[in-house]
């Protein structure tokens, strides 16, 4: 009003303070600890320790499992997003609510419920053996962790995909069909490229938390499957080595930054198109 720049500075200051205290300062601390040794001298050893066989193995395993989970999430979510976009408005809200509903319950509780479901004498096996079907034994294996990741992160894939697909003008699809494109060709050449922004943000929102998780792998992996998140957690919580823990966190940050750059570039491209 009188001085809009001053006013907006005043209004944004709570957020600026919040960001400084809880995001920037901790981030700088991670950088500081990650690049120093116990004596406080500068070193690259913490970051370089990612190359040790134990750390590398857990990083590669985490990359592999989160990649598989992301692909599965995408394969489930994309058809659902298409169905949703083409269904009646009233049923859209219902289906979205059904997918969001479990998120109102605590994430750890939901994952612990899977432990009870998957156990050797758990709910699923009891039902399977009642029906004289072969029982499953996936608890405490990487497969159980993938299941946990897909289950927990699927809504994060559905929502951006649904948003992107429903924004596509039906006239564009109709035009493609009029001009002789088959169903598959329309999907491949028109729908998919037009929803690229949603795909990238969905992939980011599944891949990053899956890559860094340690709770899911502890609960469903029986502490037998060590992901990079577990390694970092154990340096902070067990061996009290904040330097090594921070150093490895910096390595993980590289993957997060790569992901952010990709989505920023695609956003920019979308704007210019």
């Amino acid at each position: 009003m009188f001085n809009s720049r001053k006013a907006s500075a005043g209004l944004s200051s709570p957020y600026v303070a919040w960001m400084t205290i809880f995001i920037i300062v901790p981030l700088l601390m991670v950088f500081y600890f990650g690049l120093t040794d116990a004596g406080g001298a500068f070193t690259f050893a913490n970051v370089a320790s990612i190359a040790s066989p134990e750390h590398l193995k857990s990083l590669l395993l985490a990359l592999e499992l989160s990649f598989i989970s992301t692909v599965i999430c995408f394969l489930i979510a994309y058809p659902l997003a298409l169905i949703l976009a083409h269904s009646r408005i009233s049923s859209q809200g219902l289906i979205i609510t059904i997918f969001i509903l479990p998120m109102w319950m605590n994430f750890l509780l939901r994952t612990m419920a899977w432990m009870t479901l998957l156990e050797g004498t758990g709910v699923i096996n009891t039902i399977l053996s009642f029906l004289h079907l072969p029982t499953q034994h996936i608890i405490n294996t990487p497969a159980a962790i993938v299941l946990g990741m897909v289950y927990n992160f699927l809504p994060f894939m559905i929502l951006p995909l649904y948003n992107a697909v429903s924004r596509i003008d039906p006239a564009v699809i109709e035009a493609a069909r009029d001009l002789g494109a088959g169903r598959f060709q329309t999907l491949w050449k028109i729908t998919l490229p037009l929803s690229a922004g949603g795909i990238i943000s969905g992939v980011t929102m599944v891949f990053i938390p899956a890559l860094t998780t340690f709770a899911i792998s502890t609960l469903l992996g029986g502490s037998k499957v060590l992901l990079i998140g577990n390694v970092i957690e154990s340096y902070f919580m067990l061996s009290y080595d904040v330097h090594l823990g921070s150093g490895l966190s910096l390595v993980l940050m590289v993957f997060i930054i790569i992901n952010m750059v990709v989505s920023a570039v695609s956003d920019a491209k979308e704007q210019t198109d």
Binding site: A7, G10, S13, E54, G222, L238, S239
Partner: protein, 364 residues
């Protein structure tokens, strides 16, 4: 608008100042350390193992003394340590195990106890437990025993036909996918070290290497590495064999009569968990009152019946009504029959060495 803005910037400044003040706090408090000023504070922060007390006992302590107890729990010594190290004034009275107590003593983090203030504890805790404690707390200056026990194999008699008397059964392929191991570094490495006849406090890299390799070979047979959950899985019939603390054994047998507990012939770890007071505790007098309260036989026996971990309290053992449990070979074994060893603190280098091997086993 101007006034509003000023209020905001003051708030921001104040919160920034707060953060710095808090940051400074951690290092400043050491100045008033150990004076144990007899403040009339009505609070006490207890940091104990998870599920390691009869909750009604806490309420009774609060009612009798008027002290409000803030009760926090940990599941391994290794998890407890960084939390205490970050802010030693955050906790008053804690209950770590033997080797962790010697680490805390070495790092000057514990308050030297005034035994004059602990007459009940001095009288009720058995002589042999004070003597046993000398191994990690020479002169009994810092700790008062709370619970003790052994580590052994819990097995399900409906699933295991062999005689269980050796750690080696945990490597038997017949039981693949039905074995549970402990998820903490010392308890896990203890098993192969004992089996091979090495010291469980060894710093010999060849011996540790061999033990590590054995655990890596065993990994495909193991269903999972757990702490408290070994108990639940064994009760639920989820496993044939599990490495477990003796204190859990009586409880699991109550819930599932098919379970048996053995101390393997190669020997095992005997441990003591004791009350200690943080050197920078804010409520020292209340902490003394807590330890005294816990050492009363009628309180100790209720804790024993609730958590079923062996009590070093002689008066409490006399009060146990069930003769079978009073003379139970699990709760009160004749220690002279077994080869036993207590964990010792191995120093920073030793800790790091063990953690490196642990990481290798876990990442395999």
């Amino acid at each position: 608008m101007k006034g509003y803005q000023r209020v905001l910037s003051t708030l921001v400044l104040a919160s920034v100042a707060c953060v710095f003040a808090l940051g400074g706090c951690g290092s400043n408090t050491s100045g008033s350390a150990g004076t144990g000023e007899a403040s009339a504070s009505k609070e006490l922060v207890v940091f104990n193992w998870a599920e390691y007390i009869d909750p009604e006992v806490i309420t009774e302590f609060e009612e009798e003394t008027g002290i409000t107890v803030v009760y926090e729990e940990f599941s391994t010594n290794e998890i407890m340590y960084p939390l205490l190290a970050q802010d030693p004034s955050a906790y008053d009275v804690l209950c770590p195990s033997d080797y962790m107590i010697s680490k805390l003593i070495e790092q000057d983090m514990l308050l030297e106890l005034d035994m004059e203030k602990l007459p009940t504890a001095r009288e009720q805790i058995g002589e042999q437990y004070w003597k046993e404690s000398e191994g990690f707390d020479p002169g009994n200056k810092y700790s008062v025993p709370y619970c003790w026990g052994t580590v052994g194999i819990l097995y399900n008699t409906t699933m295991v036909d062999d005689v269980v008397d050796s750690w080696s059964i945990l490597w038997d392929e017949k039981y693949a996918g039905q074995i549970y191991m402990q998820d903490s570094v010392r308890d896990l490495l203890m098993v192969p070290l004992m089996m091979k006849g090495y010291s469980i406090n060894t710093l010999n890299e060849n011996e540790l290497e061999e033990a590590t390799q054995m655990l890596i070979d065993q990994k495909p047979l193991v269903q999972g590495y757990f702490i408290d959950q070994v108990r639940d899985k064994m009760i639920g019939g989820e496993g044939a064999l599990g490495v477990i603390y003796s204190g859990e054994a009586i409880f699991t047998q109550r819930e599932n009569p098919d379970l048996e507990y053995v101390i393997p012939k190669e020997g095992t770890n005997v441990w003591i968990d004791s009350w200690v007071i943080s050197k920078e505790a804010k409520n020292v007098e209340n902490a003394y009152a807590w330890i005294e309260f816990m050492s009363r036989p009628e309180i100790a026996v209720r804790n024993f019946e609730y958590i079923t971990y062996s009590t070093p309290n002689e008066g409490a053992r006399e009060l146990i009504e069930d003769e079978d449990i009073k003379n139970s070979e699990i709760a009160f074994p004749d220690l002279s029959k077994y080869k036993l060893e207590t964990f010792l603190y191995l120093g920073e280098e030793g800790d790091k060495l063990y953690n490196d091997y642990w990481m290798r086993i876990k990442s395999e």
